[in-house]
Symmetry: C2
Subunit: 406 residues, 2 copies
């Protein structure tokens, strides 16, 4: 971040000019909580998207990938309570009907409408309720509807996740807003995580796509709650151009400033997801340094990040660094055990593969009681680095996931 020449504002996804949103209870969830969200731009805009890498992809992801080919978007409709995944041809028809119904009410074409779904896998959408819900939510669209929309996309989330930042870029005020959901199945690359970003910047679809990909890699694709990657993960960014800036050009200072806004929004939403991870009490940054390649650094970070033994030790505030050493050893990366160094928040605990003894242990015992801290792994083999944010594994994670469908 180059000096943070922007400021945080209220309004989330409806903070940029020309965006309306709403969230209502359409009856997809049994409980009387919001389960249908709609975000609409007053005019067509550029759209970019990044999706799950899971080969079992939900119907809305299949549809959005098709619609994204045109690069033009007007609205995003999202339901929670049902993932519309593993639902076959009927699932795809249902997702398409959701887009068509919204398009008809807005007077746009179906492929300018994007669809998201999150919830249980393998059940068909209750389309009768969605058919009633869409006219109802259209009537509720308003400038201040960002928070309602953010609430309606939640599943096991405990907190609403939204942010908006604004900056003057070459004389034009440009704003980026965002909302996200996700607390389980969080893992690179893309977990049961939906994130929707809006901006009033004028930017061509291919430029927006590159900027979004650059913002997603170190944020949404660098967090891991439980190692599972969902069938539905989606990040979409809709840019309607109402800021009336000259189109942001590749390589320009203006695009760099916009990238800073977009990256900040993605980073903030990713951290909000981590902190609200299912049963999470701690968020830990795993920084792997001096690897031979970035891929090897990432592989080591990922193996530690997903170790149940490491994650339960974090929950227990147990500075059990031996479990980290064991995870490094089984990562598949040809590490040299006698070169490894470990430090907790800068305090060394392992040097040349050997523990530094009781006094070092006592110092890191204090670190592991914090809610957020960094563990650094020095592989001593090269000059590449990578990091991931991980979380602890608590009783509540088990509780939430053992009883999710019941």
């Amino acid at each position: 971040m180059t000096g943070r020449s922007f400021k945080n504002i209220r309004g989330g996804i409806t903070a940029p000019q020309g965006f309306l949103a709403a969230g209502i209870h359409a009856g997809i969830k049994k409980q009387a909580v919001p389960d249908l969200a709609l975000v609409v731009s007053t005019g067509e805009g550029s759209i970019a998207g990044v999706f799950t890498t899971n080969r079992v992809t939900a119907a809305p992801v299949v549809l959005d990938r098709l619609h994204l080919r045109g690069g033009i978007g007007r609205a995003i409709v999202v339901n929670s309570g049902n993932a519309n995944a593993c639902t076959g041809a009927r699932g795809l028809a249902d997702a398409k009907e959701m887009a068509r119904l919204v398009a008809e009410h807005l007077g746009t074409t179906t492929n300018h409408v994007f669809v998201g779904s999150t919830g249980v896998i393998g059940q068909s959408l209750p389309m009768a309720r969605i058919r009633q819900g869409i006219p109802a939510i259209i009537k509720r669209l308003r400038r201040s509807g960002g928070r309602d929309a953010a609430r309606a996309i939640m599943t096991t989330d405990l907190t609403v996740k939204e942010i908006a930042v604004t900056a003057r870029i070459a004389g034009h005020r440009i704003t980026v807003g965002g909302m996200a959901k996700g607390s389980g199945m969080i893992h690179p690359d893309m977990a049961t995580m939906l994130a929707y970003l809006t901006t009033d910047a004028a930017i061509a679809p291919p430029t927006l796509q590159r900027a979004l990909a650059a913002a997603v890699a170190p944020s949404f694709n660098s967090i891991s709650v439980d190692g599972d990657t969902s069938t539905n993960d989606t990040v979409l960014c809709l840019a309607n151009g109402l800021a009336e800036n000259p189109r942001l050009k590749t390589g320009s200072r203006e695009l760099a400033a916009f990238q800073e806004l977009l990256s900040h929004v993605c980073h903030s939403l990713a951290m909000q997801i981590c902190r609200d991870g299912e049963g999470v009490t701690k968020v830990v940054r795993l920084l792997v340094t001096r690897a031979r390649t970035q891929a090897e650094a990432k592989q080591v970070a990922k193996t530690i990040a997903t170790s149940s033994l490491v994650k339960t030790a974090l929950f227990g505030e147990d500075a059990n660094w031996g479990r980290i050493m064991a995870a490094i050893g089984r990562s598949g990366v040809p590490i040299a055990p006698q070169k490894i160094g470990l430090a907790f928040e800068g305090i060394p605990i392992v040097r040349n593969g050997v523990g530094l003894g009781p006094s070092a242990e006592r110092r890191i015992d204090r670190v592991v009681r914090r809610k957020e801290f960094t563990i650094t792994v020095d592989l001593g083999q090269g000059s590449h680095r990578a990091w991931l944010w991980t979380t602890d594994l608590s009783y509540d994670y088990v509780k939430i996931n053992a009883s999710y469908r019941s």
Copy 2:
């Protein structure tokens, strides 16, 4: 198993002729429970071993690999409460001293003694206590000491794990006994799991090594409790030849019969470890069929077996097959979602990638309440298969692992 022409007998690791064992409290663990085990053959024998694939290997594994080059063994000494891992040059010297002390008392050479350690990583062994413990345990060696030894290698295990089987092979009674420990860090290939097998069969070291490898692959290397592989895993088999059978020859019927005994002992001990997995309430066999290659079948099984979402659903007795579909999709194997079939204990729930609806769900709801069952994944792509046993993830897993060192 060809007709199971053998019978189960008592005695565990001391059931075969010519083996003595003991287990005592030497003071390595704080609590007054057994923490030192010794198994001794009355004469030198053939020995075979299979070790952890973790690149961070504990000192006793480094030592045993060296000693295994000779193919000759006389005794196995094991401590619990301390893994002697990440302990550098001192750790290796300590492991070697353990072997030397036992060798001196038995009048054999150091490289005929094998060492095992299990427990916390990163602390040096309390050698003063081990130096006192070894003469004490030598005095306690006896024919009925198998169970004491099996008890002394336990860490978070709740149950003693041992078995012995016997058969007449070409007119000679041959017996195989075994003991094991392990309930956390259980994962292919080789988890924090120690297993020691004894037999009175006469068999050359290379033949024994091949037989052991064949027995370990579908047993110890096909179970997964938490996806972590330890730094200390070891399976050793010591064969002293006191059955006086003609040496078992590669390709012979007699060797096939012996393989059956050895495989049964490994399978039994592996299942005992699964059932005693940390916090385990269920043991589930994941059978992946019609894969393009065995490696792909195994990769899919492994991804499901280690999914926290699948494992918590198993604990919750929730037939949440969508989480299995999501795990298959992120396995990295180029599966075709529309070809996938899923069945619980033979009852279909997914066909051609689509759920079969409420009546099928109700039928599998009954299956998931069982303590042990099979989930079959049909990839519909080829003719290869693989399986793994996995377990559920419960509150108790978190409890045990959050507080292990405290």
